[in-house]
């Protein structure tokens, strides 16, 4: 875990989302599924973001503007600086035989980097609209479905599922594939175990998702 003030290199629109590219500096990209806390200018607390891409000298985040923090981050322009802390938490286990990436909406954010590290395995991605589905272009080998179709309809059995997306999707995936690796979300104030704000029920007790997760598997 390292905190650096980095510069924005580019701010690109991908459908409704923003791909924010920052210069990497001394930050490690970490393992896919790990996340970073990004300073949200003008806000008190930073916001957790999965690493989306780790190209040479850069880190990139795919961000959906849904509230004051993400709006402030998505408004950053090339040259602007922001503090970044990470990588944090536990990412996906990569020692899998027949990987299948299952994602929904902004949940595809960690998949470009994950796909690269796994050698471009197949992916099934669900989106609210064709506009949102433009983000699928970032993930190689992806089959896309748009609501009302659901990603779970595209999942074949016998695969090592790595999933990220909205909670109902993750619950549905878990019912189908109990051994799936699932990347969960919870509101986080610190991202490094200091606040106990991100508590979720894990094995019957409330635990810190930023320390035990965000990727969990049963």
């Amino acid at each position: 875990m390292r905190r650096e003030r980095r510069s924005v290199v580019a701010n690109e629109k991908v459908g409704p989302y923003t791909l924010l590219r920052v210069d990497r500096g001394g930050l490690e990209p970490g393992i896919p599924g790990q996340f970073f806390m990004l300073e949200a200018p003008g806000r008190l607390l930073p916001r957790p973001m999965s690493l989306c891409l780790a190209s040479a000298g850069e880190l990139a985040f795919l961000i959906e503007a849904i509230g004051p923090g993400t709006r402030a981050i998505c408004a950053l322009e090339p040259g602007d600086r922001l503090a970044i802390l990470g990588p944090l938490g536990n990412g996906f286990r990569l020692d899998v035989d027949r990987p299948l990436l299952v994602g929904g909406g902004i949940g595809v954010a960690p998949f470009p980097y994950l796909s690269e590290r796994l050698g471009c395995p197949p992916a099934v991605l669900g989106f609210r609209s064709d506009w949102h589905a433009e983000a699928a272009a970032l993930v190689p080998n992806a089959e896309v479905c748009v609501e009302p179709r659901l990603v779970t309809e595209l999942m074949a059995p016998g695969q090592d599922v790595l999933a990220c997306g909205p909670e109902p999707m993750l619950e549905a995936v878990r019912r189908l594939i109990p051994t799936a690796q699932l990347a969960w979300e919870a509101p986080m104030a610190c991202g490094y175990g200091a606040c106990y704000g991100c508590a979720v029920e894990i094995d019957g007790t409330l635990k810190r998702l930023c320390v035990e997760g965000p990727v969990l598997c049963s």
Binding site: L44, P187, C190, Y192, G197, A199
Partner: protein
């Protein structure tokens, strides 16, 4: 002396951050283990944050067997924050901490809502704890009382060695879209910048009311803020919410403080101690 605010740092998860402090204060330990409140437990507001962690902690048994030995290895003095629902519960935990040399001090989280009156409550809790331990006792008070100086004097008379000021204030935030409370239990504790003027007033008033040393906290973000707390009468200052945004805050804040001090020609932070009281006039009502 720079500390963390109780509940704002886990030294076992982030030992390097804790090592940047002059003492590490634990999250409040209660007699029984507590899972804490139903999520959502945190929310940001425009001027601070709300939390309803609900004193999640392993309970005193597991704290003594598991956490304390690990904390002792950090090489930083350990202050244990103690909570409970009756004065006896506080006393019991204090007596169990008493013969652990690793414990440098005890902070009594006397900001527990279910006591008869805060003055009475603080008095009884501190007095029971005082009988149970020889460790330095810091009474952590809430500013949500009509007259904090009265509570401070009661804590002093009951045997406290110092005051920790202040705990969070009750606050509410509504979700932007749904207008429902952002936190699971609706109301939570407000911390961060919104608290700073209230905390400074608490430190200032208690410095005038007692001669107990004070740990000041509430909205500290910068070295400048630390200086203000010291000028208002705090011997020590604690970093809380700022640690969430910036785990490097202990290092940064020390550097900023050093720059502030030298810009003002102070050789040492002690030179700034209580200087805000230099030209004090008599107090009037608002």
């Amino acid at each position: 002396m720079l500390l963390n605010a109780s509940g704002c740092l886990d030294a076992l998860t982030a030992p390097d951050v804790a090592r940047g402090l002059d003492a590490f204060v634990t999250k409040t330990v209660t007699p029984e283990p507590r899972d804490g409140n139903t999520p959502v437990r945190i929310a940001e507001t425009d001027v601070g944050m709300l939390n309803s962690i609900g004193l999640a902690n392993p309970g005193i048994d597991r704290f003594l067997t598991r956490s304390l030995p690990a904390l002792a290895k950090l090489g930083v003095p350990i202050w244990v924050s103690v909570g409970g629902f009756t004065a006896d519960e506080y006393a019991e935990i204090c007596s169990r901490l008493d013969d652990h040399a690793e414990v440098a001090a005890i902070e009594l989280n006397v900001s527990c809502p279910n006591v008869e009156s805060p003055t009475q409550g603080a008095m009884e809790i501190v007095a029971s704890a005082r009988l149970a331990t020889r460790k330095p006792l810091w009474a952590k008070l809430s500013a949500a009382v009509p007259d904090l100086t009265e509570v401070a004097r009661a804590a002093h008379d009951a045997g406290a060695d110092g005051l920790a000021l202040i705990n969070t204030l009750r606050g509410l935030a509504l979700d932007e879209r749904t207008l429902q409370p952002a936190l699971g239990p609706a109301v939570g504790g407000l911390s961060g910048p919104a608290l700073k003027p209230v905390a400074l007033a608490a430190v200032y008033a208690c410095h005038r009311a007692t001669d107990l040393p004070i740990v000041g906290m509430g909205g500290v973000q910068t070295g400048r803020d630390v200086l203000e707390f010291v000028a208002a009468g705090a011997r020590h200052v604690a970093l809380g919410t700022v640690l969430f945004a910036d785990p490097d805050a202990p290092v940064r804040v020390r550097a900023e403080l050093a720059a502030e001090l030298s810009a003002r020609g102070y050789a040492d932070v002690d030179d700034a101690y209580a200087t805000a009281h230099a030209h004090a006039l008599s107090t009037a009502t608002t």
